[in-house]
């Protein structure tokens, strides 16, 4: 067991190093230069521009050779320093991420967890009742085939624009001050409904179909047939089928949770929702190396952690993996 975990940890560590390296490299291989953009925004005299450019290059350490930048990046990383944003100079990237993170988590955690729970329940019920199955299955396929942003736009159009029930953009009413008052919290919730609903509905369809198919597969398996031949009541057979059908769903959930920190990019853009997805888009548009790097780093850590957790949870819930690792160790 310990050997298994140690080996897994080494693999994750190597993956982390490679992923962080790529994360560092990608913005630097993009054409263009963030400093030019910054300087052109200030729009001074041409010779002043040159001076400013070299000043900023030095300030961001971008005048140093690449290998030096790379080492700087790693050492800063271990000090918890993700650099300063270029577009919102001189705000530290950690502050920007800290500001965006609550919106993303508040939007994605409930939508992923709820859609997972409700989807599995609906799927399990559908596998049991023909009538429900005939309605759940087509609806599920329709929902899961719907692109998030399209459903988002549709919801914004019908419920926001036409009916005027919900606001179309932003995380809260822009005339309010961000503070802990009931009015502000109410406004947050009000703005949260539409993006949440679009994410929840699309994910719901996928989970429900997955669960339905897995249960039907399990109910046709040999152990289910054997139990029924021995006169076991449906209750017991379904209990086993449900439990076994949950295994792949658990993996799916954990992977989704790992991607949570990346934010739902398109959904956040549709609703101008100030989460991480929104942040990374502005970072890319402004060639803000440090913001892009910082957000991607979050995604990398999130996905790796989620995978690690799945590995550990699976050992607990599925005896087949346990035997697998005994065999490995031998």
């Amino acid at each position: 067991m310990l050997r298994y975990l140690a080996r897994k940890l080494i693999i994750y560590l190597l993956t982390f190093i490679v992923a962080v390296t790529i994360d560092w490299a990608i913005p630097r291989f993009m054409p263009g230069n963030p400093i030019d953009a910054l300087v052109s925004r200030i729009a001074l005299m041409p010779d002043a521009n040159a001076a400013l450019t070299s000043y900023f290059m030095a300030a961001f350490n971008l005048d140093q050779p690449l290998w030096r930048q790379y080492l700087n990046f790693w050492s800063a990383l271990f000090h918890g320093d993700l650099g300063r944003s270029i577009m919102l100079f001189p705000t530290p990237v950690t502050t920007l991420i800290g500001r965006a993170l609550p919106y993303t988590l508040g939007l994605l955690l409930p939508s992923i967890l709820l859609s997972w729970y409700v989807g599995n329940m609906v799927g399990a019920l559908a596998a049991r009742r023909k009538l429900l199955d005939n309605s759940v299955l087509p609806l599920g396929y329709l929902l899961t085939a719907t692109p998030y942003m399209w459903l988002g736009i549709l919801l914004a159009w019908v419920l926001g624009s036409t009916l005027g029930w919900f606001p179309l953009a932003f995380g809260y009413d822009q005339s309010l001050k961000a503070e802990w008052s009931w009015r502000f919290i109410g406004s947050l919730l009000y703005h949260w409904v539409l993006p949440f609903a679009s994410l929840f509905m699309v994910a719901l369809g996928g989970w429900a179909i997955g669960m339905r198919n897995m249960i039907i597969y399990e109910l046709e398996s040999d152990y289910a047939n054997y139990l029924m031949a021995l006169g076991a009541p449906q209750r017991l057979v379904r209990k086993y089928a449900f439990r076994n059908a949950m295994l792949p769903q658990i993996t799916g959930l954990a992977l989704q949770l790992g991607a949570v920190v990346g934010g739902a990019l398109v959904t956040e853009i549709v609703f101008s929702y100030p989460g991480l997805g929104w942040l990374v888009l502005s970072g890319i548009q402004n060639q803000d190396y440090f913001v892009i790097q910082g957000v991607f780093l979050f995604i990398i850590v999130g996905v790796l952690l989620a995978n690690l957790i799945v590995d550990i949870v699976y050992v607990v819930v599925d005896p087949r993996t346990r035997v697998g690792l005994q065999g490995d160790a031998a």
């Binding site: 152990y223 047939n225 054997y226 031949a229 021995l230 076994n244 005896p319 087949r320």
Partner: protein, 320 residues
């Protein structure tokens, strides 16, 4: 004592109903191990399954099944439940994957027994005793199925299936997936369970006549959804009356003959489609003895004590 009369089971398919069992009647006595043999698709597995649980696409068309004088409601899945496991039980073809992979075996058995209104703890000593007979320690009850070898899983299933001392056990192709040594052990275990009275009568479904010759008291040969011949094992092996039985036995290898020199004869042709089976004797297209009368269906009649055959030429044969 099992009595089956005129049992008809069809399979629903898009092309129509496949008449897998087309009116079969036979009896299995107390303490009898009856072998059920025939080619693939002859209906032997269908017969075995029909006696305990009809699959979704299997359709009960007619006939009666009585066990110990009581009629079995095989067409009614719910009504059949009380009989399953207690009166009729099965060691399925897929015994190696018949246990829930994510439950410890002991716990699964307890949960099954509890669902049938029995207490696992009271049956535990008997369960462990029977596992020991088949060379398994009580430790297996604390294991997951994947920790056991295929043969061990099969033995666990045999013990579980017979735990409530059923009147009838159906052993469906139990030796098919095993190596010869394991085959012998499993075959021996079946006989042992009968001798100890754990099971009253047994139907051993297989295409392996060699195994049946060792353990069966009688053998029933099926062909294309119908019964061809039933007789005590000795009679089937030494004096088969149906031409199909003779050809089936003739396609078995014998010790000491090298088949590079002498090809196994086999049986030419293929069984007829059961979607629309031919009238008359179903074996007539492949039968070397077929003659004019074979366009009429031969009755399944007794030509000697305990020896029934469905062939117009059976009498002449048995004597000649």
């Amino acid at each position: 004592m099992l009595a089956v009369s005129d049992l008809k089971i069809h399979y629903r398919t898009l092309a129509g109903s496949v008449k897998a069992l087309d009116g079969v009647s036979f009896a299995v006595g107390d303490g009898e191990i009856m072998g059920l043999a025939g080619e693939s698709g002859c209906g032997k597995s269908t017969l075995g399954k029909a006696l305990i649980r009809l699959e979704e696409r299997m359709m009960f068309v007619g006939g009666q099944v009585a066990l110990d004088g009581e009629r079995l409601p095989i067409a009614d899945d719910r009504a059949m439940n009380p009989y399953r496991f207690r009166k009729v039980s099965i060691v399925p073809q897929y015994a190696m994957s018949a246990l829930n992979p994510t439950r410890r075996i002991g716990r699964m058995i307890d949960e099954l027994l509890a669902a049938r209104g029995l207490k696992g703890s009271t049956l535990r000593p008997e369960l462990e005793r029977r596992l020991a007979i088949l060379g398994l320690t009580p430790d297996v009850l604390g294991m997951y199925p994947i920790e056991l070898s295929g043969g061990m899983k099969q033995r666990v299933v045999m013990v579980l299936s017979t735990l409530l001392d059923p009147s009838l056990l159906i052993a469906d192709e139990v030796t098919s997936a095993l190596d010869v040594a394991s085959q012998k052990k499993v075959a021996g275990a079946l006989v042992e369970f009968r001798d100890r009275g754990y099971v009253k009568s047994m139907i051993v479904v297989t295409h392996d006549l060699a195994i049946l010759a060792q353990i069966a008291d009688s053998i029933l040969i099926m062909y294309a959804g119908k019964l061809a011949e039933k007789a005590p094992t000795r009679t089937i092996v030494e004096a088969p009356a149906h031409p199909y039985t003779r050809l089936l036995l003739g396609s078995l290898p014998e010790v000491g003959i090298r088949f590079e020199e002498k090809r196994l004869p086999g049986i030419k042709g293929r069984p007829p489609s059961l979607l629309s089976p031919p009238v008359g004797c179903r074996f007539r297209d492949r039968c070397p003895l077929a003659f004019g009368k074979c366009v009429e269906e031969p009755p399944f009649i007794e030509i000697a004590a305990g020896h029934q055959v469905a062939c117009w030429k059976a009498d002449a044969h048995a004597q000649g």
